[in-house]
Symmetry: C2
Subunit: 356 residues, 2 copies
């Protein structure tokens, strides 16, 4: 049965503007490739929900979503109404942890028609994935303050890494590398400075690499790795990183290829015990919200990642080809201002839907 | 009395090749600007010292260095003989902590004659400082392992920030911004994910900014800040960051302007209770060591920072002008291979000494 039940959560700001285009692209792919969508639209993770209920999501959110095949997410955050750390820890960070979406997968790809800030780089030259640990590590709420309010004030926060947590994301990265031509994994570390958790990370990478003799493994400290994203983005194939380092690298990578406004991300529970979640990397962008000019490609590219995850690889490829060809064509009346055009969210969405 | 007693510690690898050029530049500046140098050459922080004594430095290193006016350092690290975390925690990280060099200052400057990997950026457009906290935060050795060797293995490391530690580096950054035309401080944070220490960092930034009403303050989460180093390097004036974030940004910044091989750094104890240390950002570079082609500018630029710190501002400016003009002239028989030339370490050093 090829009917997919998908929770659709636009969130706030431009999330609500790009989501309709994401849904249209999905629907077009369903029509062409002959599967069915059962969409469940939810107003969660929005300032509206916060104002009405004092929470970002209903208490029984997890039970209600356990049965969907995937979650299609827009963007969360409307700081005028609810502080960011409240809205984020009350929605997206909850999904990642409670649904054990322990892989955050983010493609970095230099596309025809997108201007890279790097000099002299050609489309095709840069095409890699950042695989980010998504549930533990530096993102913790364990710790506290002592001598509060005095000159001796001391604040401690624990980074917590587990063998289970590290090994499973490494395995995902190595498996992904197996399916790529370069068969190469790069590990982000900082074991020369972060003296306890990062040497452990390195040990687990070394152990895992023994089970994958055909995969080429290297590692860089995060400082020089960030530098190498700028200097040698063509060196990378699959980059695996802790939660914090992955967060940094998966914004930096798209920035280097000019796709920060259109990059997608997949928050994956590989075992399928819980639903996975697909969202653009961009946020709710209060500054351009309401103008109808947000670029919907991040949402549409996320739809492609979701289709691939659902087993609709052909449809996924078609959606990717569609937006890539529209961007490559570069019709300035179609593409949105961020790509140098005068197009609208809906107009660019339509062009991509037509191409599908 | 303008006699400066300087500890000269070349270290390992290209450290031993670039240091003589750094010393020659210092000496030339002394001759022209009429001060004296009393140089104390030490073989510490080297593989040789490790092999002879089993330590990176003698036990009484701190007492012996307390009386110098500054430490001029090359590069540490020779992993064939001693593992990096041992050599680093046994030398450079010791200096920073024991001598309370709580500011790590690193200029990011796009120079005439240096090719930036970023498209369309002009010299003068990018010129800012990264001010990094250099003694606490994420670089800690507090923590440990539990359930060792089992599937439940859990590793914990504490990030420790103090009001004293944060406030003093912020004060340095704000004071520096006061002396710059843009009068702007950018804080690197990640309070939306790192939920205990980074909100505290933000609070201290907000508190400090109240004492500096004429300084413009903004903040970015580290992920988008890294992206903005690539996209908008012209936005920044003084960027202040924790130990880890500062480490990343002070490699990324120089990478964006093409100076990663020649960037300098100052490890400063602003009160002068202990000596400060000046070193190039680059490491010992085993891959090119022994060839005589290492670029000495990182060492020479560090000499300029040291002279400025010692109160010889005119001499410092002269050293900076000297290497900037030699690089701008771009004679390919003079500049080293990293800058596209065929010059040698000594040849480029001589050209700069002549210009001083
Ligand atoms: C070698 C390493 C421990 C060091 C650091 O991370 O501080 C280096 O990267 C630096 O920036 O000086
Ligand atoms: C909003 C924030 C908590 C989040 C993160 O750091 O994980 C975002 O930057 C991301 O990368 O999805």
């Amino acid at each position: 049965d090829r009917t997919y039940r998908i929770a659709v959560i636009p969130g706030d700001g431009i999330g609500t503007e790009v989501m309709p285009e994401g849904v249209r692209a999905l629907q077009a792919a369903a029509d062409v490739y002959g599967f069915e969508l059962d969409l469940v639209e939810l107003d969660w993770a929005s300032a509206g929900h916060w104002q009405a209920h004092g929470t970002m999501m209903p208490e029984d959110w997890a039970e209600r979503l356990e049965t969907v095949d995937a979650i299609f997410f827009g963007a969360v955050g409307w700081p005028d109404v609810v502080p960011d750390h409240v809205s984020l820890w009350g929605s997206i960070l909850q999904f990642r942890r409670v649904f054990d979406q322990y892989v955050n997968l983010r493609p970095v790809k230099l596309l025809q028609g997108v201007r890279s800030p790097l000099a002299g780089r050609e489309p095709g030259e840069v095409d890699f994935y950042v695989v980010r640990e998504n549930t533990e590590g530096e993102y913790s709420s364990v710790g506290g303050r002592m001598f509060e309010g005095t000159d001796r004030e001391t604040v401690i926060q624990e980074t917590i890494m587990t063998r289970t947590g590290i090994d499973r994301v490494l395995r995902y990265a190595f498996d992904l590398a197996e399916r790529r031509p370069a068969k190469k994994v790069t590990s982000a570390t900082k074991s020369n400075g972060i003296a306890i958790t990062m040497p452990y990370w390195d040990e687990r990478v070394a152990a895992m690499s023994e089970s994958y003799p055909d995969i080429d493994v290297d590692q860089f400290h995060i400082d020089i790795l960030a530098a190498n994203f700028v200097l040698h983005p063509d060196w990378f194939d699959v980059v695996v990183a802790s939660n914090l380092f992955g967060d940094i690298l998966s914004d930096l990578g798209p920035a280097c290829v000019g796709t920060i406004g259109i990059a997608p991300s997949a928050n994956i529970n590989p075992e399928g015990t819980h639903p996975s979640l697909f969202e653009p990397v961009h946020g709710s962008a209060p500054d351009i919200a309401g103008k109808g000019i947000a670029n919907p490609i991040g949402q549409i590219w996320s739809a492609a990642l979701m289709l691939d995850h659902l087993g609709e690889a052909e449809a996924a490829a078609a959606v990717e080809d569609a937006f890539e060809s529209v961007v490559a064509a570069g019709d300035t009346t179609v593409v949105t201002p961020d790509l140098g055009g005068t197009g609208t969210t809906a107009g660019l969405g339509s062009a991509i839907v037509d191409a599908i």
